[in-house]
């Protein structure tokens, strides 16, 4: 509260308890983000590949399969995350045993992330040069080999950029889950900053969130650059 009333930043707010809470918040946020992104890829990577492969310009076009998956992905992506969070809470309770806390937040996060990840994977895979695919076909490669040895390999750099974007987005979603007691830094920012007007704690948690996104972005981009052999360095 004192930030605006006294005109200064009151470090006294940061008692050992508060500091401990913030550190725990960082871990919870990282835990939610990393686990959800990983699980999101477990579902979204194969889904995105199937979308790219069965699409009109894919290596095995299939209108029925593409149509159904495309529809499911669009539906899931259209539901606002906050609503999804509440709608899936019975499912969350079933899986995790409770509907609040950072482990519980992972369930809606994965449901929101998977279709979005699938779309990014689909687009990365579609970018692969058609000529290289044709060359592999001319050598007698089957579709499975083309997927594992050509599409994923050639799309590698773009896929890593996708992971970076997914991490940032999912971190943002995880903070939103603070509204329903989702745990992590977003939860702290909402409870202390928004509900209790404790500006110091809010500002600090938001700065930490920004830093986390920056670090992820930096590491992701560095990794994608490192693995990119397409350009002369």
């Amino acid at each position: 509260m004192s930030l605006f009333l006294s005109g200064g930043f009151d470090w006294a707010e940061f008692t050992p308890q508060v500091r401990e809470m913030i550190v725990r918040g960082i871990w919870e946020t990282l835990y939610m983000t990393l686990v959800s992104t990983f699980m999101g890829y477990v579902l979204g990577l194969p889904l995105g590949i199937v979308l790219a492969v069965t699409g009109e310009k894919g290596i095995a076009p299939n209108k029925a399969v593409y149509g159904v998956l495309d529809f499911i992905v669009n539906i899931t992506r259209s539901v606002p995350f906050l609503i999804l969070l509440i709608v899936v809470s019975p499912l969350t309770k079933l899986i995790v045993g409770k509907s609040y806390g950072s482990s519980a937040t992972i369930v809606p996060l994965v449901i929101a992330a998977a279709p979005f990840i699938a779309r990014m994977v689909e687009s990365s895979v579609q970018e692969v040069d058609k000529g290289v695919i044709e060359a592999a076909q001319s050598m007698g490669a089957d579709n499975f080999t083309i997927i594992t040895k050509v599409l994923i390999v050639e799309a590698k750099t773009s896929l890593i950029v996708g992971v970076t974007i997914a991490l940032g987005t999912i971190l943002g979603y995880s903070a939103m889950a603070g509204i329903v007691g989702g745990g992590g830094l977003g939860d702290i920012a909402i409870r202390y900053g928004y509900y209790r007007y404790d500006m110091e704690i809010m500002v600090v948690t938001i700065i930490i969130l920004i830093l986390l996104v920056q670090i992820m972005q930096y590491l992701g981009m560095a990794l994608s650059k490192l693995t990119d052999k397409r350009k002369i360095k």
Partner: protein, 259 residues
């Protein structure tokens, strides 16, 4: 002798239902084992489509494609993949795996055929010697010139000991000097290994320099075919004359982009 490639009444129509375009119209063609056969035509004449029917990357609308005595359209998908290992192909834009180095690119068709790694690497070494790139095994395609990239593509195409090598505008992205070096290499491969080579091109100079036979494609049809000497000495059709004359005037056309 039975031709290694035999095309009978081949027709290819795109968009059959909506807006039909006849890309190939009733083509008959026979290529004998050991030939270097040129297929020349202007951009959009259908030559890229034609060569893609030789390994069924394109499915003909009608007609029969017989390669090495096999009616390709009667094969199961697995048998077709098997047959394709005997019919290699190189491309205008090389189509190498850009994220893999030269060695991995050349070993790729070997891995598809379940060749073990040490064996594949040994074969790769031989191939690199043939194409004159022994020092580039660990280089990435982005670090190579166009001519070097095409050499890698040729090494990759030869990896499985194919009987046929299809070249789709393989020199169109290269300068004249590099073109000439690549053609020398192809000639050498033909002589040394007896591989039948089919060359798709829009440049008469390429045909003249390397081919034994030539077919001239125009508007999806073969308008004239025969030995290169015959066609050059006495072209019968207008299209053939045009190609021979264009060569004299050194006018070149834009190459087909492939598909």
């Amino acid at each position: 002798m039975e031709p290694i490639i035999k095309i009978q009444s081949l027709t290819k129509i795109y968009n059959e239902k909506t807006n039909p375009v006849k890309a190939l119209d009733n083509i008959d063609l026979e290529i004998q084992k050991g030939d270097i056969y040129g297929i020349i035509g202007m951009s959009g004449a259908g030559k890229s489509t034609l060569v893609r029917c030789f390994n069924l990357l394109e499915r003909p609308t009608s007609g029969i494609v017989t390669v090495r005595g096999q009616d390709l359209q009667s094969l199961t998908p697995r048998e077709l993949r098997r047959a394709r290992t005997h019919i290699s192909m190189i491309f205008q834009h090389f189509n190498l795996l850009m994220q893999k180095n030269v060695e991995e690119n050349i070993c790729f068709p070997l891995y598809i055929n379940k060749v073990k790694k040490p064996e594949a690497h040994a074969r790769c070494k031989e191939l690199l010697e043939i194409v004159g790139l022994s020092d580039k095994a660990k280089a990435y395609p982005s670090q190579l010139s166009g001519g070097q990239r095409q050499r890698v593509a040729i090494a990759r195409a030869l990896a499985t000991n194919p009987e046929i090598l299809l070249c789709d505008e393989a020199t169109s992205a290269l300068d004249p000097q590099t073109t000439s070096q690549i053609l020398d290499l192809l000639r050498e491969i033909n002589a040394k290994f007896g591989i039948t080579i089919v060359i798709i091109t829009h440049e008469m100079a390429v045909v003249r320099e390397i081919c034994s036979h030539v077919a001239i494609v125009d508007g999806g049809r073969i308008v004239e075919k025969g030995t290169v000497d015959e066609i050059f000495e006495s072209p019968k059709t207008e299209e053939a004359k045009r190609f021979v004359l264009y060569r004299e005037r050194k006018v070149t056309f834009e190459g087909g982009q492939g598909i």
